[in-house]
């Protein structure tokens, strides 16, 4: 007897379903792998472009082509880890990009030895990032400081020289105000204390220009020269680490200029007298933290004066 109410489940169906499941599974797996590969590829491309973009920022050649913004194809998270312990130190940068489907974050990391001194918060997130490149002298040019941030900053009572410098350096994402009430609520308020009587309540970052101190999230750091901007926009730990790395570079350059001084002294009787002073400078430039910067800067200014008297300048 044939049961007419039963469903006919022939071999055809079983075969089709099994093969269908296998094909669909393989298709999903292939698509998933392909998407992952594509994302890694795009992230690697972004990292390469970022590296290429950051490298020229270090040179003096592109002083007129410094970008004030970096715009990524999609939202990214940049994280950095600074290591000062080995030699000249290094910075590791991790770039994560947000997936449009599901909102997952992928990441690609690279070591930043070339564009070496990147000052930023430990994590900076956004599709657009502001960049500021400021040369650092002590007394010769040591490096260009690359400063990155994504949120807006409101600088309250900034001195005129700071306003002028930031304008020359083509800084974006920075608003100047004479009162913190004029700052927008979503901006980080940076208050400049230009005299001991200035009040700094309600400010996330406090800059004391007469003591050359910057207090941010309870941590106090010291600055000299263009390090002021680095200390405002950067995480205190990354700042201190990079300051140590800059000191190592300053020391190495002091040794190099000392050798150049000896070379010029031998060949053209010019500049040789500065060699022992530079050797001495190389010995004292090693610093424990940014607190020691003012002492180094005093020595640096002395050397600057002495080199100005030379017929052939060791640096300009």
């Amino acid at each position: 007897m044939i049961n007419k109410k039963g469903i006919e489940f022939s071999f055809n169906w079983i075969f089709s379903i099994v093969v269908g499941i296998v094909v669909i599974f393989l298709a999903i797996y292939a698509a998933n792998s392909f998407i992952k590969t594509e994302r890694t590829l795009q992230d690697t491309e972004t990292v390469q472009q970022l590296q290429t973009l950051l490298n020229p920022l270090q040179t003096s050649i592109e002083s007129t082509t410094k970008p004030s913004n970096i715009i990524f194809p999609r939202e990214v998270k940049l994280m950095t880890q600074c290591i000062a312990s080995t030699g000249m130190g290094e910075q590791k940068i991790t770039l994560s990009s947000k997936n449009n489907i599901g909102g997952e974050w992928s990441s690609v990391s690279f070591s930043n030895k070339i564009s070496s001194y990147l000052f930023m918060e430990s994590t900076v997130q956004g599709k657009q990032m502001h960049v500021l490149v400021a040369p650092f002298y002590m007394p010769y040019k040591v490096a260009d400081l690359v400063i990155l941030w994504s949120t807006n900053y409101c600088l309250v009572n900034a001195p005129q020289n700071v306003k002028d410098e930031l304008q020359i350096l083509n800084a974006s994402g920075v608003i100047f105000a004479d009162s913190k009430l004029k700052c927008s609520s979503n901006s980080n308020k940076v208050c400049f204390l230009n005299s001991p009587s200035d009040i700094d309540e309600g400010c996330e970052i406090k800059v004391n220009t007469y003591l050359k101190q910057v207090r941010s999230t309870g941590k106090l750091v010291y600055y000299e020269g263009s390090l002021l901007y680095a200390s405002i926009f950067s995480n205190a730990d990354i700042y201190e680490c990079n300051v140590k790395r800059l000191a190592s570079r300053t020391k190495e350059l002091a040794n190099l200029y000392s050798q150049k001084s000896i070379l010029l002294g031998d060949k053209s009787n010019c500049g040789g007298a500065l060699a022992p002073i530079l050797n001495n400078y190389a010995n004292i430039v090693s610093i424990k933290d940014s607190r020691d910067l003012s002492n180094v800067m005093t020595q640096s200014n002395d050397i600057k004066k002495q080199q100005e008297d030379l017929l052939c300048a060791l640096w300009k």
């Binding site: 089709s16 290429t52 490298n55 050649i61 070339i114 040019k141 010019c270």
Partner: protein, 169 residues
């Protein structure tokens, strides 16, 4: 009954062939797609590598360890001091296997520069870690130094050659 069984078997075979054909077709499409994509990736990688190499060579001329005070200029006095130094290594911040500066014009005596023959020489070899560095990327630069007999700065046309991990990275 017998004809139904044969018909059923034929259907199964037909479906199996169709499925095999679809899989082969999809495989071929995927193969073509991936070969085109791979080719694009290779082109993109080559372009990025070139950009990186050009940026690096420009970057080298801007390093405080080598730079003169004009854009794209290298201080030859610093370069020879750097070559002579045992304490300072450019590889602290450049991952290079090879770095050489060549003076092109005005013509100089051929030969590697050392303290003894400087500046009457044409090449300053700063890094030479391996013989297998491949093809070095190069860029034209201005080479400047202090000329002791005339007590003035002089500049020449030169080229920087660089190769290594830092370039191909």
């Amino acid at each position: 009954m017998r004809s139904m069984e044969v018909k059923g078997q034929l259907k199964i075979q037909e479906m199996a062939f169709v499925l095999v054909a679809i899989v082969i077709f999809l495989g071929l499409v995927a193969l073509i797609f991936f070969s085109i994509r791979l080719n694009n990736i290779k082109n993109e990688a080559a372009t990025l590598k070139e950009e990186q190499a050009a940026a690096l060579v420009r970057h080298i001329s801007g390093l405080p360890e080598l730079s003169w005070d004009c854009p794209g200029c290298i201080d030859l006095d610093k370069a020879i001091a750097l070559k002579n130094s045992k304490d300072i290594s450019l590889n602290n911040f450049l991952e290079l296997d090879y770095l050489m500066i060549e003076i092109l014009y005005p013509l100089q005596k051929k030969g590697n520069c050392v303290i003894g023959n400087y500046p009457d020489c044409s090449q300053i070899l700063l890094i030479n870690d391996t013989k297998d560095f491949g093809v070095a990327s190069s860029a034209f630069v201005t080479l400047c130094r202090w000329q002791s007999d005339k007590q003035q700065e002089v500049c020449a046309l030169g080229k920087v050659y660089a190769a290594g991990k830092g370039v191909s990275r």
